[in-house]
Amino acid sequence: MNLREIRILYGRELRSALRERTIVFNTILLPVFLYPVILWAMFTALTFIQGRNEGFTSRVALVAALPSPHPVLAESLRADANLSFWNGETTSAGGFVGISGDRAAIPVVDSAAAHALLRNRELDAVLLFTEPDGEAAALAGNFEARILFDRAIDRSRRARDRVSGRIDDYRAGWLAREAERMGLSEAEQVRFAVRQDDVSTGEDLGAFLLGQMISLFLVIMVALGCFVPSVDTTAGERERSTWETLMTVGAARRSVVVAKYLHVATLGILAGSLNVIALFISIGAVLRPLLSGVGAAADTISFQIPLAAWPMMIVGAVALALFFSAAMMILAAFARSFKDGQAMVQPVYWMVFLPLLLGSQTDATLTPALASIPVANVSMMIRDAVNGVFLWPLIAQTLAVTLGTIVLCLVSARAILGFEELMTGAYDGSFWRFLKDRAWRGRRAKA
């Protein structure tokens, strides 16, 4: 292998690539800016939606009166500023009209009309109090509250929670008063209590969040970084009629292919690395304000990556880039135009997400089975490393599987490029058609 040739060809490829707007956008700008912008937009939107939903007044209809011994509950429901009870009338458009006046009692409205309004989404919940059945019926003043709501609507679920919360609070107060009346101390009332203590530190929580994000974004960004260059260096060359120019230069074909391969992998690694750095720098600024108040660990959250995880991420990015480059270039080599190339390579890009789903269980670490699945294994390996978990035998298995996949791709590429019509760009078909043609011809030849 002539290293001088490879260096010259590689330099030419890289120089051309970094002057192409689409490649610069996908390889540099997107990895650096996309993640923080997406994350910021996502959390801002969530906060906005959450705030908007919390700001809504829940529209409730009472269709069966509250039993008389519970005026405090009635007052509590009526006084809740987040609840508005239907007065039984509708607007001209058939909309909800709430009771007015601070002292107005909650009216009992027609059940059928309330159900109709609930179905039309003009009402968020229907509340009715009924006599309990069986043994519960013997208890004086007991009642059963039923809440009708629409699970498909967030606003309706929120109305259920609000009404339910009011009744729960009332029950707790009532039980406390009853216990006191029976001479039970507070300690005796709160027996068999459950207390929860979060032992995670701010570093643990930060590493957990970083691990989730880096393992996901690194895979996506490396694939994205390889995507356009792999098409540009194969189908793009054909479209620009520079492929034949390259075929007539005095370098070995192998040098041409190796230089192209290394250039695509380089851009994939660049995209992945830039993304990790952008993620690492910006995640604190984006997430810390959003997580404040969630818990003690969240309040002291710190985003640090263990030193030993960095080499693991680099190895992972290189392995992913070499795999994606090989797989994408094999498919793109069949295309005769950039557009065709994009269409042919697209499936590989989307296939990236399938193994990622396997590794999306937040508490899972590498297992022998997961370590056998390309892409997912590297993603998991990186996540473990960021969390400070290093399962060396499984890491070795992961790297061996990835290396094997890369070698398989390269051997396939070598075999495919051995066909003259492909090397010269004369073949007019896709990778799948090529396989079908060759298999069919092979069978026919044997027959």
């Binding site: 010259i8 030419r12 051309s16 007539t248 230069v249």
Partner: protein, 283 residues
């Protein structure tokens, strides 16, 4: 100094093609013989023209010589290197120019010339000097820093010729070089080829434009359906056919070949060693 038959003193031709064949499989037509036993030579300081209609096999022949395609039979040597045995050496010995060999649009003129000089094995320490001399020779200086994609077609043509000879190869292949060029650019192209011939380059030139071949080529091979129908200087071809214009000579050969299906038209020993100039029909 144009090569002539009497001056062909070079013991070894720059290009030596013997019984060259290329067949490929086509789903609709079955086995297609694109090149069917071509033999010819080209010497330093000579422009050898391959004249033929579209689909005659000219480009396939030149692609085999430039090692883009692999021959299915026969042999071809460029500066003594066999195309199948030493393809890299062959490619380093020649410059290939055709309408389908475009320039890298995102490199500028100087970068383009430096890249092609280096990758074709031109000595590293002399690359800058060589590139500067080409820039001066073709008047590229004014736009040497502009990306190729921004250049006019005339400017691109100059850069393209310069990149073809960037590594100073002894053999040059021009495959239909004037296709798509306006009259002035086509004339300029012809003039450059003449100059290169005078510098001692062995030039293979393919075209279907009779006037260009007439003006430029020292010897002409008429190709039809992958076979060489006639070979010689223009005067020799005129003498053999009794016709004056190359167009008439070409048509007469093609008509004869089409009319004598199953027969073989040979020029001297065009199917093997070249030499004679007469054209005759053989059984």
């Amino acid at each position: 100094m144009a090569w002539s038959k009497g001056e062909g003193m070079t013991p070894r031709p720059a290009v030596d093609v013997r019984d060259l064949r290329k067949s490929f499989w086509d789903e609709g037509r079955g086995e297609v013989r694109a090149v069917d036993g071509l033999s010819f030579t080209c010497h330093p300081g000579e422009v050898f023209g391959l004249l033929g209609a579209n689909g005659a096999g000219k480009t396939t022949t030149l692609r085999m010589l430039s090692t883009v395609l692999r021959p299915t039979g026969g042999s071809a040597r460029v500066m003594g290197h066999e195309v199948q045995e030493a393809p890299e050496r062959v490619r380093r010995s020649l410059g290939f120019y055709s309408a389908s060999t475009a320039l890298y649009p995102r490199l500028n003129g100087r970068e383009t010339l430096e890249f092609f000089a280096r990758i074709n094995g031109y000595p590293e320490e002399r690359v800058r000097g060589r590139v500067q001399s080409l820039i001066d020779r073709f008047g590229i200086g004014e736009y040497e820093k502009a990306r190729v994609e921004k250049l006019s077609s005339g400017m691109k043509q100059k850069v393209s010729i310069a990149r073809t000879i960037a590594h100073d190869p002894p053999v040059l292949i021009f495959d239909e070089p004037t296709v798509g060029l306006d009259v002035l650019n086509a004339l300029e192209m012809v003039q450059v080829i003449r100059e290169l011939r005078d510098e001692g380059k062995a030039i293979l030139f393919s075209s279907h434009i009779m006037s260009e071949v007439e003006k430029l080529c020292d010897r002409i091979g008429i190709v039809h359906r992958g076979r060489l129908l006639a070979l010689g200087t223009l005067d020799e071809l005129r003498e053999a056919t009794g016709l004056h214009y190359l167009e008439d000579i070409f048509v007469s050969h093609v008509t004869a070949a089409e009319g004598l299906a199953g027969s073989e038209l040979v020029e001297g020993d065009a199917g093997g060693e070249e030499g004679g100039t007469g054209v005759e029909a053989a059984d």
